[in-house]
Subunit: 427 residues, 3 copies
């Protein structure tokens, strides 16, 4: 349980907010590259941390992410013409380049000083790991490009999807670091889902319902270890790295790919749930990729032509009570991603955390909130932040059995901090 | 016309409001029993007096009505598993029994003291008259179960329906005690509706458009008598009992069943309109029940799978100007229930009563408001309230012709306070 | 760029607002006559300047525009019975005549003094130019009927349409006086639209992208002249009269009819866009009328049964990127009216003018805002207003080529102030 004020601090992300300022210090994934693939193709509207923006790829293939609205009369540049290395406002043909600079005023004499007044807000954009990332913070503090492992592997080793979640980002993030619910909410799917099935770890998940959490800081954020009983005298560990400010890496099962998420606020009532599978050593198989495309694992099926999940709030997530009754699904909702999202959205747009009652399995959540607030305060105080350096993002999840007396920070180290090109450590 | 402050007092019903506290002293019908018929069946979401709740019937057939949201992390228990005498949160399997007690913490050690902290709000529920009723007031003040006549007759003597009304409850209630509008709004339907037609009273309704209202208090609320001219020297009386805080009983026509309504706030902009027909002496006929099921009388047709009337605000109530022009319907809206609801909803979510102009035929409305406010003040002062005792709810409507010089309180007494199993007094 | 306070003053139009009071001094077109054609036909709901009203044509053919809600209990009179020279409330049969007077209280004794208390707000209504106009200002200040040229020509010389625009009126009005955007936004349509094509002026529009604006006051408002290069030593002038408070007249092209608009606030987030074509000398041809009916020129196609454009915000205006790419349309939106409306709506319900950057081609906009504010202040001070007299509304747009050294106020005078029955002056 936290105070109403703390809840506000943790969940508000617009310009000038405590958490918003922190998040703006990191690179933010905002689009799949394929959404903006063609030079001079259709511009894309997006809203990130409450700011309305438009993205376009210019004639030379460079990506611009600028204010959605023309400096002149406030028209949405989504209606604009993407041509000749700039986005033209459709009202009077004013053109902006990828830096937001007004480079043509065809309806006026193109006076340099006038054009300078028309400068639009813009954010640097890069492509990495199949996603377009932008940096919305102070220019002089811009960090190195993101170096999360999934962003570094070859395209054939990775599958990236994105869906709309109708809740504050923090509800989603707090689900992502909570191994405890897997034994319940996902119990039906663990055995059936082609991207989860076949792991010995699943049995541990289903048989020990009371995981013990141990949380350790590392340079990029937290290592959240959930320990369950395995064979006599041994523990099954699932270790979820949380990397500042919203990245989580999910421990793999058997030979399946690793999972990863990013939870990016659109505004304070909605977020983008990025879901990534990747294998650090090999290409994904056809079967894996096909399962992902059809919504298995942490991915979803969509309302055609949108990023809205097919099972969503407006249709009660296609609740199936018979499937719930039989245990095929625990909650009656199909699919691991929507099992999570349905519950997280049911908490309301922004969960009232003054009414919650946290317990021992919420230790990861407690530490994460504390770390977010501490980093946000450090940011305001001009102090260093965790997770900004590529080296601090070099971490992987792992699932491992260890002797009962061995701490995971010792026994799982080789599974967590491991070179690209190596197999995951998993059970 | 009342002040803005009085209108607020009368129409606000959430926790801690003047009227909300009064209403919580009475049993509240919240569901049809058939909506929650099966032990371990699907839980049902409901909102009553602004509070979000979930109802379920447990393995042993007992009904629980508890806070919709899990004490742990605020997930909606509507997604829960109803099994083994409790409702399990789908997130971590926490189980609550019908009293809201947390009886299992499978993701934690089930420590008694921890479980006690997880106690959810719950309200006692009973089944009576085909409906589930809850009591939301102080436990020590819980009254006897409801004893309105329609709740006491055998199931075959009763038909109960429920529909969503998109207005504050008071607009609906004020329609329910207003006999005056029948001569206008329902004039076309009086003659045609199979559950109204054939009564001599209809002729009086249609010929004397200026009823005189006399209002008399009784132990449960008010007796609202509307007097119209009948044969020379005689009056036709329709007497509508209003029983605290929201029950009305409609005078029967000829041999038709009696009618009754309950107007229960969902929140302050919507209410449940309960519509009941019953005959205190005999089973309903097949023809009657079939008419009711197809939306005749005070019942409606629905948007399939919902409790939303088929004719509703979003489709202008299927307004038929030709029917209005011909007089088949007075307002162009078909069906007695939706004739009322359409106009009540047209006043806005909460009618601005500072702009109204009440006249003599609104005497029942004026007295009812006064009684509601007086009872609410009495409640705050810890004084006794009307209509709490079963004996105070023992009243029936009647329609009767009386000599011009006989007060209805005298001449209609035998029709109003009558034993179960007797025929209604009607014309 | 204006201050937030000025933006509020210019865009708020409800009762008691600065601009709302000004607008109420003028006749307001509110309905097409055909919407309310039949005596005793269906009443029509309308909202104008934030006020909810109902219009009806009584038995004798007179139009009443009165408060939507019955004085008694607040029921919407849209459900009313239009009969016997009045509109009856469907609840208790109370009848109001076109002056808002309560003329029958059939549910009460029809006491004169009681009926006087039930007087509803009403506004005088007249029919002119195919539209119903109301006057919402102080009775003693009621002006002569509107005398805009399009309202005075014979019906066969005029085509009038109306569509919903989901933005504040000022965004629409500011588009209507901005000739500058034609060279861009409408460049694709200029050549193709049957109501625009074939004019030499189109070439000037397409070749000189930097018009020079000259704005001159006249008795009814402003003459907004946009000057472009024509043949050597000559200018092409398009002169748009803006007549207080919301009328614009569009310069014709070649032999096509003139255009006119009225932008009438529904509330502060929506307005009615009236679009009129007329020819002051001749009947419209079948081909012209047919093109207008099918949505060409300044008219639109509709969602069937509504006044909502078929291409609208909910469907991204049927954006066609291929058409944008080819230049068939400049913005990808089809049709001149929706090209404008889509961009004006994209500014948001009420444009934040504190963020705009006006330039030389916005001179007409700057002057119009100033004139609106000045007139509104004059109105508060009890001083005379422009555009109230019929003689002040006698103005027409024209398109003309003039020698470079001749001011349009001199050279175009004969085209602007011209008798009915004469041809437009156009190029």
């Amino acid at each position: 349980m936290i105070t109403s004020e703390q809840n506000e601090q943790l969940t508000r992300t617009g310009p000038g907010t405590l958490m918003g300022e922190l998040m703006r210090r990191y690179w933010i994934p905002v689009l799949d590259c394929h959404e903006i693939a063609e030079p001079d193709g259709a511009p894309v509207r997006l809203q990130i941390l409450g700011e309305k923006l438009v993205a376009f790829r210019d004639t030379r293939g460079r990506i611009g992410v600028i204010d959605e609205f023309c400096a002149h009369r406030g028209v949405s540049l989504w209606f604009g013409r993407n041509e000749e290395c700039g986005l033209r406002c459709p009202y009077h043909g004013w053109k902006y380049d990828i830096s937001g600079a007004c480079v043509e005023l065809p309806s006026e004499s193109s006076d340099e000083r006038v054009m300078q007044r028309m400068q639009l807000k813009s954010y640097p954009a890069i492509e990495q790991g199949g996603a377009v990332w932008i940096y919305m913070g102070p220019p002089q503090l811009r960090p190195e490009p993101p170096a999360l492992e999934w962003t570094l592997v070859a395209a054939e080793q990775r599958f990236v999807s994105r869906r709309l979640q109708e809740s504050n980002y923090l509800q989603a993030l707090e689900g992502g670091i909570d191994s405890s619910h897997v034994s319940f909410l996902h119990s039906g799917s663990l055995k059936r889902d082609p991207l989860f099935a076949g792991s010995r770890g699943n049995e541990y998940n289903l048989h020990d319902l009371k995981p013990v959490f141990e949380v350790e800081p590392f340079a990029g954020g937290l290592l959240i270890g959930a320990r369950r009983n395995a064979a006599e005298g041994r523990y099954y560990w699932r270790i979820t790295p949380w990397i500042m400010p919203w990245h989580t890496i999910i421990a793999p099962r058997a030979g399946h790919p690793l999972g990863a998420h990013v939870w990016v606020p659109i505004d304070d009532a909605r977020c983008w749930a990025w879901s990534i599978n990747y294998h650090p050593r090999r290409a994904l198989t056809e079967a894996e990729r096909s399962a992902m495309q059809s919504g298995a694992g942490i991915h979803v099926k969509y309302v055609p032509g949108t990023l809205v999940p097919l099972a969503n709030k407006s249709n009660d997530y296609l609740m199936d009570r018979a499937s719930q009754k039989s245990g095929m699904t625990y909650s009656g909702v199909e699919g691991i991603a929507m099992q999570d999202a349905s519950l997280q959205e049911s908490m309301g747009p922004v969960q009232e955390r003054t009414r919650e009652h946290l317990v021992s399995t919420d230790r990861g959540i407690v530490h994460t909130r504390r770390s977010l607030l501490a980093a946000a305060e450090a940011n305001r105080a001009g102090k260093p932040l965790p997770g900004l350096l590529p080296s601090e993002q070099k971490v992987r999840s792992c699932a491992i059995e260890l002797p009962a007396d061995q701490p995971f920070t010792d026994g799982a180290k080789h599974g967590l901090f491991r070179e690209l090109g190596t197999d995951p450590v998993s059970v």
